[in-house]
């Protein structure tokens, strides 16, 4: 049977808008802080686990290799795992199995993100997360998927935006007590959030976590090593992860089933049968305020649609019945993507040891859960951590290992904002990355159909679904699909957003209305744009129809459908 595995040390850099250190240097600072926190040296480390989100941020292909020596991996077993936004929590899972399998006794787990290198805006790295053939031609930006999911969530339960904004307020207030935080604000109010600029309705600026740079590291050890290193190890009691279908327009976005699957896996392993009683502190993933609520429901800590009430009633506050994101979360501490996830593991480590200082939740919590999320609203990563009942935390020792001042900031050439922007001191590089994707059998035929003015699906006669977009395989039955079917050119709006900004956050002259449209006569749906309609006249459930480009202008592209408009509009 697997060995018990514990977290024995943690450290992090400050989360900032633009770090003057390189990604390697950030990795080193966090690693050093984590090792110092448990008085270990690199010689004590058997293996290094690393994670970091898209290579596009740091602007380096095979970024894990580039970062490896900064993360202490020279000459050591080293692997970079990667599950999008879920990566930060996953790297703790990676460290767990590296130790539990007996391949290492002491592991250094590092999560780094330096987003500020991406110009003109870090959101550029997200332009290529969308389906290369069916979605990217529509010019989607990252805000869309959050806005679409948030609208669906709000619409399904009739939620009040005020209750969701309460999460942003709570987390930014909590972060005021975090020495590494970027956006701590003790006096922020719900009115401030509701008055902030609308980016992609219903998402407003203060609903969103900030672009950030930073790194976090934790030390993970086998039971034997952990007992040697510390008298207060924090055990990794359960781990779970789960990835849903990439065909996100075919899913109901109202509930994160994949998070629930990951949570059940972790709870089973931890022997947790009643999570609402047995979890004392939670660090759910909160890149947007509604996501924390969505995830608390996915973690089975609240009934569906009920987490917003808990936020409103103070249940999630640091002194509430279920403290949630006592760190300040991504909304308050910051969101250097992979690092932000591992920050949640570090926070549980400090909370369960009673070392969280001003952020300490009352009542000597024994068990906590950390969770992250990512990809196309698709992956859940969950870790349950607990302390020995006997080792009641000593409340008196705030021991957060934050690198407050980069030790060599003054020794190098730190670029001023002006120098950075003007590129007189910065090193610039434009990547020449060009691709020509084979659409393949299924999507190739689908595009031919569009050129002919038809929407085509594939039928799976096992689960009796008509798949749009079509595929040659059924992902549920894992068998070949059976036949081509022409489906209707009409559909129903499942969710929509009114987007006011371009991907680089520049304002649009006219807002655009992306929508997920379920296609009549199929079990699937498409991401597309709504047109011939005023934003105020759009609603979830609206019946729409495809508006085709003139035959002579069609090219076999998703853009052969110009947009969808309300049915019957001429």
């Amino acid at each position: 049977m697997a060995r018990r595995v514990a977290v024995v040390g943690a450290g992090m850099t400050k989360f900032v808008r633009r770090a003057q250190e390189t990604g390697k240097e950030l990795s080193w600072e966090a690693s050093r802080a984590a090792l110092d926190s448990c008085e270990l040296g690199l010689k004590d480390v058997d293996a290094v686990c690393l994670t970091s989100a898209p290579d596009a941020f740091d602007g380096v292909h095979m970024k894990g290799e580039y970062l490896s020596d900064g993360a202490g991996a020279f000459g050591k077993p080293f692997i970079r795992t990667y599950v999008g936004g879920g990566s930060g929590v996953f790297t703790a899972i990676q460290a767990w199995y590296t130790v539990a399998s007996g391949m290492a006794d002491v592991v250094l787990a590092v999560a780094e993100e330096k987003m500020s290198s991406t110009q003109p805006h870090p959101q550029g790295a997200f332009l290529t997360i969308f389906d290369n053939i069916l979605e990217r031609p529509l010019g989607p930006n990252l805000l869309w998927i959050f806005a679409l999911e948030m609208n669906r969530y709000m619409n399904a339960y009739g939620l009040d935006k005020r209750d969701i904004a309460a999460v942003a307020v709570k987390n930014k207030r909590n972060a005021a007590d975090h020495p590494a935080a970027l956006l701590g604000q003790g006096d922020i109010t719900i009115e401030d959030v509701l008055a902030s600029e609308t980016l992609a309705w219903p998402v407003q600026r203060l609903d969103v976590s900030p672009i950030s740079d930073g790194a976090v590291a934790v030390i993970v050890a086998s039971e034997e090593a952990a007992r040697r290193i510390t008298d207060r190890p924090v055990w990794i009691d359960g781990v779970g992860w789960n990835l849903d279908t990439a065909y996100w327009t075919n899913r109901d976005l109202v509930f994160p089933e994949y998070v629930a699957n990951a949570a059940r896996m972790a709870y089973d392993m931890a022997g947790i049968t009643e999570p609402r009683k047995q979890i004392h502190v939670a660090e759910p993933y909160d890149p947007f305020d509604y996501k924390e609520l969505h995830h608390l429901e996915g973690l089975l800590l609240f009934d569906r649609g009920k987490a917003p009430e808990a936020a409103r009633d103070g249940v999630l506050n640091r002194d509430g019945d279920l403290p949630s994101c006592p760190s300040g979360g991504l909304l308050g501490v910051g969101n250097p993507i992979a690092a932000a996830g591992l920050m949640k593991i570090a926070e549980l480590f400090w909370q369960l040891r009673g070392e969280a200082g001003a952020r300490q939740v009352p009542g000597t919590p024994e068990r906590g859960v950390a969770q992250a999320w990512g990809d196309l609203m698709q992956v859940g990563t969950v870790v349950v951590m607990g302390r020995d009942g006997a080792s009641a935390p000593t409340q008196a020792t705030p021991a957060l290992s934050v690198i407050q001042t980069p030790p060599f900031a003054t020794a190098g050439h730190a670029l001023s904002e002006e120098e950075f922007r003007s590129a007189t001191g910065a090193v610039e590089h434009d990547l020449d990355a060009r691709y020509a994707w084979d659409a393949g059998v299924a999507i190739g035929r689908f595009l031919d159909g569009l050129e002919e003015g038809l929407i085509l699906g594939r039928e799976c006669r096992s689960c009796r679904r008509i798949l749009v977009p079509p595929r040659m395989f059924c992902e549920r039955c894992f068998r070949g699909t059976d036949a081509w079917v022409e489906v209707e050119q009409t559909g129903i709006v499942q969710t929509f957003s009114i987007c006011h900004v371009r991907w680089d956050m520049q304002p649009l002259d006219e807002p655009e209305i992306p929508a997920v449209i379920s296609i009549d006569g199929s079990d699937g749906g498409l991401l597309h744009m709504l047109g011939n309609v005023a934003p105020d006249d759009v609603s979830v459930g609206l019946a729409v129809e495809a508006v085709w480009r003139p035959e002579s202008e069609r090219t076999g592209s998703i853009l052969d459908i110009a947009h969808f408009r309300p049915r019957g509009e001429a």
Partner: protein, 389 residues
């Protein structure tokens, strides 16, 4: 190493310079179907965890792990990506099984590199952005520097490298899946265009598309799934220095460390005696020789002598890259490591057809990541006879 882990299913698709008309998803589906059929399992209910291997910029998609579950039967299941070569995926699958969190794991890696229109620029994007890229060098330059340092240190010649290229391309003639079989002789290599001296064009593995899926299982499960399990006796992996300024030029030091760990875990005392065949990284011809040395299969001069004497041929004492290697089968990028494991499994099962190695019991698969990375991984595999029953 308990519980023991075995490869119980293999499947592959593609292995062509350009897989025209199929998408990467369809390529993956084909390989996965074959692997699950080979293992006799239903992925929707009988695979506990899935591991994929990819790098975003080779795919042209940020956060590529989004797009893997459906075609592997992995939707709403534990799926992860390692940003590394397939052999690191195999290692990950082994750890998942040994940790007890899974008893059956599918490991996938693929190349759809024909989609990349600016491959050289993407590869060069792996170089240090501040110190190296402004020099305008390519990763072939790094390979040339490495080759020269290796030849200088060992006293081996360009002729030895040409012999490797000729051997592997010729071996590929007996491998039905190989993308670049050719009846090549050393003079052809000598006559090929210089790339970055001393490296010549026919010493580079040409790119190819393809996908490999392996199914791994814990011992008790493996016994119920197959009568011919191939045991993963041991594995090791290591990084070196990613910076050109401090790497150990000419030495595959990461492979040395990975091999030591793999042999220790596998209980291999004398690899030269105990290993029956090897599939090693030959994305540049000289690397086969460099890696055989690092794998402890002989001093560089011994390796050169074995090459000259034909002992590295399919019918020699130590067949190396009987498959044709990357030079013969094509460079499948992050899938290269699984290509080597695939060959080892076929050889150890006695299913390698015309290129079957006699008395194949213990095999070594090794992989090194693309320049300028120095990371490497090693796996020791054996059939029941090689594993001591």
């Amino acid at each position: 190493m308990e519980p023991r882990v075995a490869v119980v299913g293999i499947g592959h698709a593609g292995f062509v310079p350009i897989s025209a008309g199929v998408s990467y998803k369809e390529l993956m589906y084909e390989a996965a179907q074959r692997a699950y059929f080979d293992a006799g399992i239903d992925p929707r209910t009988e695979v506990d965890s899935f591991v994929c291997c990819s790098e975003d910029l080779i795919e042209g998609t940020s956060i590529f792990d989004e797009y893997v579950p459906d075609q592997l039967g992995a939707m709403q299941r534990p799926v992860q990506t390692v940003a590394a070569d397939g052999l690191f995926g195999l290692v990950t699958g082994m750890m998942l099984i040994r940790s007890g969190i899974a008893s059956v794991v599918a490991v996938e890696a693929h190349s759809k590199v024909s989609d990349v229109r600016s491959l050289g620029a993407v590869e060069a994007f792996a170089l240090d952005p501040v110190l190296n890229r402004p020099l305008g060098i390519s990763t072939f330059t790094v390979a040339g520097l490495e080759m020269n340092a290796f030849l200088e240190r060992t006293g081996l010649s360009e002729e030895h490298c040409a012999m490797v290229a000729a051997k592997n391309r010729t071996n590929a003639l007996d491998n039905p899946r190989a993308a670049y079989p050719a009846r090549l002789v050393t003079e052809d290599v000598d006559d090929s265009s210089p790339v970055s001296w001393p490296l010549r064009e026919l010493e580079l593995a040409e790119r190819a598309d393809g996908c490999i899926v392996l199914v791994l299982a814990a011992e008790d499960r493996a016994r119920s799934l197959t009568e011919a399990p191939v045991w993963l006796l041991g594995a090791g992996w290591s990084s070196g220095s990613p910076t050109l300024e401090s790497r150990m030029w000419g030495e595959a030091d990461s492979t040395t460390r990975a091999a030591e760990a793999a042999y220790r875990r596998a209980g291999i005392q004398d690899p030269g005696e105990e290993v029956d065949l090897a599939e090693v990284d030959d994305t540049f011809a000289f690397r086969e020789l460099q890696h055989l040395e690092a794998l402890g299969l002989g001093e560089a001069s011994d390796v050169a002598a074995m090459l000259e004497d034909g002992e590295l041929d399919v019918d020699g004492d130590l067949p190396v890259n009987a498959s044709g290697g990357s030079l013969g089968q094509g460079n499948l990028f992050e899938a290269n490591g699984l290509v080597r494991v695939l060959e080892c499994v076929e050889q150890l099962r006695g299913e390698a057809g015309e290129r079957q190695v006699d008395e194949a019991y213990v095999a070594v698969a090794q992989s090194a990541r693309a320049m300028p990375s120095t990371s490497a991984a090693v796996a020791v595999l054996a059939n029941d006879a090689g594993a001591g029953g």
